[in-house]
């Protein structure tokens, strides 16, 4: 799979839509940018698109989804589109902040390595260390099933224990009942079996009838008590009425002018005259009257009959009370009658001889005697009836006890049978679950350990590439058997074997150890089309180790569809720009300063030689300063390389910041005279450079001399403003640029862009691929 381009809109630092074009011919992309210029935005966008993770935001303890959208943008503005030669993969963010992906599955595998992961892998406790690798050795699905199996096994064990407890309780209950019965038969079980087989439907039916009679008798008793109560209340209210009547009559006899009826007439007359203002004559005799005088007279008379008024009101209240009590009493009497009828019916339905006699006593209920009289007749026989029914209660209770006992035996005996079957099944299931859990757990641990062992040797191999002959290595990753997931990390340190590397390794050695662990894992589960993102992973690596690390990445890049490197580490960037690293496989991208208005600004960078070549070939604009400046830097780089290679004499400086003239002068005449480049061709079948296929041999003396002659142009045209620079012709500028370009091309491997820096032959320097040989091996004496 090859990446074509990545389009990011409104995602984090991409305040303006960003289109990053990949070079389909190169499967390593290096994105260089200073902090805050958008490197992580690019890396995170691919992670968010292709995985459920959130990239660098993963390290934050709580992720606020609004952080995905750029400043002043809404979640629904966010979109990511990755176009590859295998298809396009898009993601849009919903208003709720979740990524909706199209297609939903089948994304390229992305391995995102951040510096924090490396630090955590090395520094974490073994129990947490495994978590950091768990996404690589992805057995999460199996672990999930293992957890559910463990839960199921516990549930089954609980079920088993519950069934055993039920069985034990049932046995104890039956043994107790058996003992209470006087231990009949041979054993409690035989007795229980026999008892539970008994048919007690007749007893159950009889009990139902008797229970109904008892219940109805109880109801009659209740209503009878209520009737007695209501009757007493009625009698009391009748007495009150009589007393009120007598008091009223006595008062009227005492005052012949006062009478309750006269009082009522006077009260009515007063009310009438009070309302009728226009009355002038008496409505009875038609004589002329003075309304005010009459009203005063009426008031006086009414006042004189105050006692009659009060007694009249008491009489009325007593009468009202008596009427109410009468109604209540009648209602009670009717209810009792209903309950008596129900009782009679239930006794008749029982069909028991003992109840027939009692039923006969109540047979009058169906005669045509008036209802009130029925009650009176009943009340005469009630005591006998109720006490007879009360005496039957123990009989009913006995039947109930027998039924309950039988039900208990049946229930417990059935529970024993059921529990035994359940215990048998559940025990087998529980054992099967235990065995299965053992299989799953061991298989998982063995698998992971197998993978770790395999990874360990690969980690060691990769580590030795970065740290050859340093007496380090022997790296082993071990999963503890006793815990679910605890990862031990050990390594050798000189004569000490299997030590914890954190205690003896330097920070940069630990960094490279962490990187190689992840790299080995990513390789193992790469499935061929994975994208490896190294997100600012290198911080503390020195020059030599950086070279080896870069070389390692290039050696391993064929294992991945693409490697995306982001870095703010300038030495790494410069190794590509100035051919100290195999730049030919690398698509170089430089990010300019980020701003809210412009967003992430991509400068599709070229290595310095390409820039010089482009500047020389630009048909529209002949940029003198650009050509000379680029050529000068390339020259300084080449000469720095050569002077180091041959140990040239040069005045020492504290910072080794030598300039072009100093570097040129460091090459002795003898050395310049001996410098020679041989270029070789490739085998058509294997594609490898053949040591026998010498294509061209070039002595460098004339080229170096030409450059030495023109080198002053660098300062005049490429570095400073001065009058001399104006006098330099375009032809000289071109010559300086072209000579530099020829020298750089002669020294650069066309395959991986590196200089010849290997001396394995013992007689010349050569590039890693064998494409170029540089003579001599040492400066001639």
């Amino acid at each position: 799979m090859k990446l074509n381009n990545l389009k990011i809109t409104a995602f984090r630092g991409a305040t303006k839509p960003l289109l990053l074009e990949f070079d389909p011919a190169k499967n390593i992309t290096m994105i260089f940018g200073e902090n805050g210029n958008g490197k992580s935005t690019i890396a995170d966008s691919i992670v968010c698109l292709c995985t459920p993770q959130h990239g660098s935001l993963e390290d934050k303890s709580s992720i606020d989804k609004s952080f995905f959208a750029s400043v002043d943008k809404k979640p629904e503005d966010v979109s990511i589109l990755l176009t590859t030669d295998s298809g396009a993969f898009a993601a849009k963010m919903s208003r709720a902040g979740a990524f909706e992906k199209n297609p939903a599955t089948g994304h390229p595998t992305v391995r995102h390595l951040r510096r924090s992961q490396i630090t955590q892998l090395i520094e974490e406790q073994p129990s947490k260390r495994y978590e950091k690798l768990s996404t690589y050795i992805d057995v999460a699905n199996i672990s999930r099933c293992e957890d559910s199996l463990r839960k199921a096994q516990k549930e089954t064990e609980t079920e088993l224990n519950t069934a055993i407890a039920t069985l034990t309780n049932a046995i104890q209950t039956l043994e107790k009942a058996w003992t209470a019965e006087g231990v009949p038969g041979k054993s409690w079980e035989e007795w229980a079996k026999k008892e539970s087989a008994k048919d007690i439907s007749a007893e159950t039916a009889k009990y139902a009838f008797l229970q109904a009679i008892q219940k109805n008798a109880s109801m009659v008793q209740e209503h009878q008590a209520k009737l007695a109560n209501d009757r007493k209340s009625l009698t009391d209210s009748e007495t009150n009425l009589k007393t009120a009547d007598e008091a009223l009559h006595l008062a009227m006899e005492k005052d012949k002018n006062a009478h309750k009826d006269l009082l009522a007439v006077l009260q009515s007359a007063k009310n009438y005259l009070s309302e009728k203002q226009e009355v002038k004559s008496c409505p009875v005799c038609d004589n002329t009257i003075e309304r005010k005088t009459v009203l005063e007279s009426l008031s006086k008379k009414i006042e004189s009959m105050e006692l009659i008024k009060s007694l009249t009101e008491k009489f009325r209240a007593a009468r009202q009370d008596k009427d109410g009590k009468t109604q209540v009493f009648e209602s009670s009497r009717h209810s009792l009658y209903q309950k008596l009828v129900t009782l009679e019916k239930s006794m008749a339905a029982a069909g028991e001889p003992g109840y027939s006699a009692l039923t006969a006593k109540l047979s009058f209920l169906y005669t045509d005697i008036l209802e009130g009289e029925k009650i009176d007749r009943y009340l005469k026989i009630s005591d006998h009836l109720l006490s007879t029914l009360e005496s039957q209660k123990p009989v009913v209770e006995k039947i109930k006890t027998a039924i309950d006992q039988n039900n208990l035996i049946k229930g417990q005996y059935q529970a024993i049978k059921d529990s035994r079957v359940k215990i048998g099944r559940t025990d087998k299931l529980s054992k099967a679950m235990k065995s299965t859990l053992e299989v799953v757990e061991n298989a998982r641990k063995d698998f992971i350990q197998g993978e770790l062992t395999s990874i360990s040797s690969e980690v060691d191999r990769l580590y030795q590439k970065i740290h050859p002959r340093e007496s380090l290595g022997g790296i082993s990753l071990t999963l503890k058997k006793t815990t679910k997931a605890s990862l031990e990390l050990n390594a050798d340190f000189y004569s000490k074997k299997a030590v914890t590397p954190q205690s003896v390794y330097s920070e940069s050695h630990l960094d490279t150890l962490g990187i190689t662990v992840f790299l080995a894992l990513a390789k193992r589960y790469g499935v061929g089309n994975s994208i490896l993102i190294l997100d600012d992973v290198v911080m503390s690596v020195d020059e030599n180790h950086l070279d080896r690390f870069v070389e390692l990445l290039h050696d391993e890049c064929s294992e991945f569809a693409h490697i995306l490197i982001t870095t703010h580490y300038r030495p790494w960037r410069d190794r590509y720009r100035y051919n100290r690293a195999p730049a030919s496989k690398v698509h170089f991208v430089e990010l300019r300063s980020w701003s809210l208005d412009s967003g992430i600004r991509v400068q599709n960078g070229k290595v310095a030689i390409d820039e010089l070549r482009a500047a020389l070939a630009d048909p529209k604009y002949f940029d003198r300063q650009k050509i000379v400046s680029a050529a000068g830097i390339i020259l300084e780089n080449i000469l720095d390389f050569l002077s180091l290679l041959y140990g040239c004499r040069i005045p020492r400086k504290p910072k080794n910041d030598y300039q072009l003239r100093e570097l040129l002068d460091s090459l002795s005449k003898k050395l310049i005279g001996a410098l020679k480049i041989q270029q070789f061709g490739k085998d058509a079948i294997t594609g490898k450079y053949l040591p026998t296929a010498l294509q061209k041999e070039t002595e460098l003396r004339s080229l170096v001399d030409e450059i030495k002659e023109l080198a002053i142009i660098r300062n005049w045209v490429g570095a400073h403003f001065n009058y001399d620079g104006s006098l330099v012709s375009d032809k000289d500028v071109t010559s300086f640029g072209e000579a530099t370009l020829v020298l750089a091309e002669l020294l650069t491997c066309p395959e991986n862009g590196q200089f010849p820096d290997r001396s394995n032959s013992g007689s010349y320097w050569e590039t890693k691929t064998g494409s170029i040989r540089l003579y001599p091996l040492k400066e001639p004496t």
Partner: protein
């Protein structure tokens, strides 16, 4: 290596469970897929294992 560890391990586990007669051979494919995809819940485990346990139950188990 081009295999998903979950799927690889699922095959290993299924083989071992079949060897120990803990699951029904007829369910091999379905079981391997389910464990590899991580979709086996408590109730699923019970069903798979119960099926095989019940097969091994003698008729007297029920009669007790």
């Amino acid at each position: 290596m081009n295999q998903n560890p979950n799927e690889l391990l699922a095959v290993q586990i299924t083989k071992e469970l079949l060897r120990l007669k803990l699951i029904d051979p007829a369910a091999e494919k379905k079981f391997t897929q389910a464990i590899g995809q991580g979709t086996l819940r408590e109730s699923d485990w019970k069903l798979y294992l119960e099926e095989e346990v019940n097969k091994q139950n003698t008729p007297t188990d029920e009669a007790k």
